[in-house]
């Protein structure tokens, strides 16, 4: 598996799956990126953080799933739980993020930083990091496609390497989003982004709760 050919395949798979990745992560990425303050550097930093933690999510998932030996035959029942929890977490983080953006707007400072979520103390985390990680561990269709191929890897390191190269391919599709930094931010853009985040959070909340209810009532 760990041959140049396999890595080439991972890269091509990533490149080919890129639009599906953008479609899958778009509802989370676009409003949160628009809610950040203007500036190419700041938006570049947001995107880098988002993608780095998304990679972390990929690798963590690949490692855990491979170690459990169920990368492909991951049982539907367990997958439902994972889906539900991730969706509920995404909903919670998006709602918190929308609220935090409002606070960040009220407390602007000379050197703008990424919108953070969490308390005012030491343990504040950039929202981009949390959202990137959660979208990384989400089981989107391209992710499953990569998982099927990575399952054939000889060992966990090869599987993770396959995922890393696959991630690189998909990430190229995200680069244009850094251009959002050029967009002028005013109250209208920030408010629209916050409202959109709340709407999308409600969708994830619904999706998570429905999965949980279905699992509890019908057992699937």
């Amino acid at each position: 598996m760990a041959t140049p050919f396999a890595f080439g395949e991972a890269l091509v798979l990533g490149l080919a799956s890129g639009p599906a990745c953008v479609a899958s992560c778009g509802p989370v990425l676009v409003p949160s990126l628009l809610a950040e303050r203007t500036g190419l550097r700041l938006n570049g930093r947001y995107l880098s953080t988002f993608l780095a933690t998304r990679l972390l999510g990929y690798l963590l998932f690949a490692a855990v799933a491979w170690e459990l030996g169920t990368l492909v035959s991951f049982r539907t029942t367990e997958r439902s739980w994972v889906f539900a929890v991730i969706h509920l977490l995404l909903a919670g983080v998006l709602l918190r993020y929308a609220w935090s953006v409002g606070r960040a707007c009220n407390h602007s400072c000379a050197s703008p930083e990424l919108v953070t979520i969490g308390g005012a103390g030491k343990h504040r985390i950039p929202g981009a990091a949390v959202l990137g990680f959660l979208t990384g561990v989400s089981l989107c269709p391209p992710f499953v496609a990569a998982g099927v191929r990575a399952a054939e890897a000889a060992n966990v390191a090869a599987a993770m390497l396959f995922f890393a190269v696959f991630f690189l391919g998909t990430s190229l599709w995200f680069v244009p989003f850094a251009g959002f930094g050029w967009l002028r931010r005013n109250e209208a853009v920030t408010t629209v982004a916050r409202m959109a985040m709340v709407l999308i959070a409600f969708y994830y909340l619904y999706a998570g709760l429905m999965t949980l209810i279905r699992k509890s009532v019908y057992g699937y």
Partner: protein
């Protein structure tokens, strides 16, 4: 400062008003020509009544110099009669208002313009249409095919911009009617940030439509599913969807317009309205505030059904891009400072000419789209009695 009201303008002479109405009368006659030869008596009567209704309203616009109050008669009639004709057709063809999901996927649904913005991203990325409607000619219940309908919408939109929302949309009339019922608004203070609602719905629904590969707005948030065709409630998901539709309809189309005297669904929620606002930049017609005449009495701001006028925009002498060109502010202004305007010309120079040119375009479209819908609804009702 007290507003000095100008003396009421003398009505235009009947002969001159008739002359100005003549092109619209001819257009209306042509549009309803097919209705006169129908063997069904109720359809014949509906065609004649609707044709006369549209011509008389235009005549009154010419005679009284007023736009909004006469347009409102048409718009409310359109909003109320659309569900009548539509539900009847759906019941005859399908036997139920509930549309099964497989019918939606197969594109056997009537055309609706609201999800147009939602299909752009999926189409760009995958060359596939997520909108429940067929792109093939003669596809769907509309008979026209989606590509043709989108083409007609685009052509009209380029001319009238967001005027579409006041002269062609068959949904806005119900809330406009509701908003007209109370004499005064109970809720007068509305946070201006709600104006961004349609843009947020547009952004969220466009992204979710791309992610889920379905028209998320139609599946989850359209208030007008409550009076057109809903998702067949075969399971819990279907019931939740229909619950959301009814809740949104009750709140945005019935309750809030009654409380605020505003078109709340259009002003704070409709994603198509937000998308259509972009085309206000391409339209040659707009509404301006003549700063030399304006004594900031804010009557225009209060009368605007979609909050498209703010203190800042009035100071700039213009409306916001969400202006639907309904004419409420022009009619409300006691100083004739709110005027119709053609881009590239000076403000308040022959504003009546600008109004006329806009109304010829907008009313022709109203007859073409709204007229046939009103006639269809009327024929359905008359069929019970005649």
């Amino acid at each position: 400062m007290a507003t000095k009201v100008l003396p009421a303008r003398e009505p235009r002479s009947i002969g001159r008003s008739l002359l100005m109405t003549l092109p619209i009368a001819l257009w209306s006659f042509l549009m309803f020509h097919g209705w006169y030869s129908r063997p069904n008596r109720s359809q014949l009567i509906a065609g004649i009544v609707t044709c006369a209704f549209m011509v008389v309203l235009f005549f009154m616009m010419m005679r009284t110099w007023s736009t909004y109050r006469w347009r409102r008669w048409f718009f409310v009639a359109l909003g109320l009669l659309f569900p009548v004709g539509f539900i009847h057709t759906v019941m005859v063809l399908r036997g139920t208002m509930g549309i099964p999901i497989e019918e939606m996927i197969a594109g056997r649904t009537p055309f609706c313009f609201i999800p147009i913005p939602l299909l752009i991203l999926p189409a760009a990325f995958t060359e596939a249409i997520v909108f429940p409607g067929s792109i093939l000619p003669n596809g769907g219940m509309s008979g026209g095919g989606m590509a043709a309908m989108v083409g007609i919408w685009l052509a009209i939109t380029i001319v009238v911009g967001k005027g579409w929302c006041s002269y062609a949309c068959f949904f806005g009339g119900i809330e406009e009617g509701m908003a007209a019922i109370p004499a005064k608004a109970t809720v007068r203070k509305i946070d201006s940030r709600w104006r961004y609602g349609p843009w947020a719905v547009l952004l969220a629904m466009t992204l979710l439509s791309l992610g889920l590969f379905e028209s998320a707005y139609c599946m989850w948030l359209c208030p007008f599913k409550a009076v057109s065709e809903y998702v067949a409630a075969r399971n819990t998901v279907g019931m939740i969807q229909n619950g959301i539709f009814v809740l949104l309809f009750g709140a945005l189309v019935i309750a809030l317009p009654l409380l605020t005297k505003k078109r709340t669904q259009c002003a704070f929620f409709c994603p198509f309205g937000a998308f259509q606002s972009l085309f206000n930049k391409t339209s040659v017609f707009d509404v301006k505030i003549d700063r030399t005449r304006c004594t900031p009495c804010a009557l225009c701001q209060k009368s605007c059904p979609t909050m498209a006028l703010t203190e800042e925009s009035i100071a700039r002498g213009e409306t916001l891009m969400s202006c639907m060109k309904c004419g409420a502010c022009v009619d409300a202004c006691p100083k004739d400072a709110a005027v119709w305007h053609i881009r590239g010309t000076e403000v308040a120079v022959k504003p009546e000419r600008a109004r006329l040119m806009f109304l010829y375009a907008a009313w022709s479209m109203a007859i073409m789209f709204g007229g046939s819908i009103i006639a269809q609804g009327l024929a359905t009702i008359l069929h019970v009695f005649v």
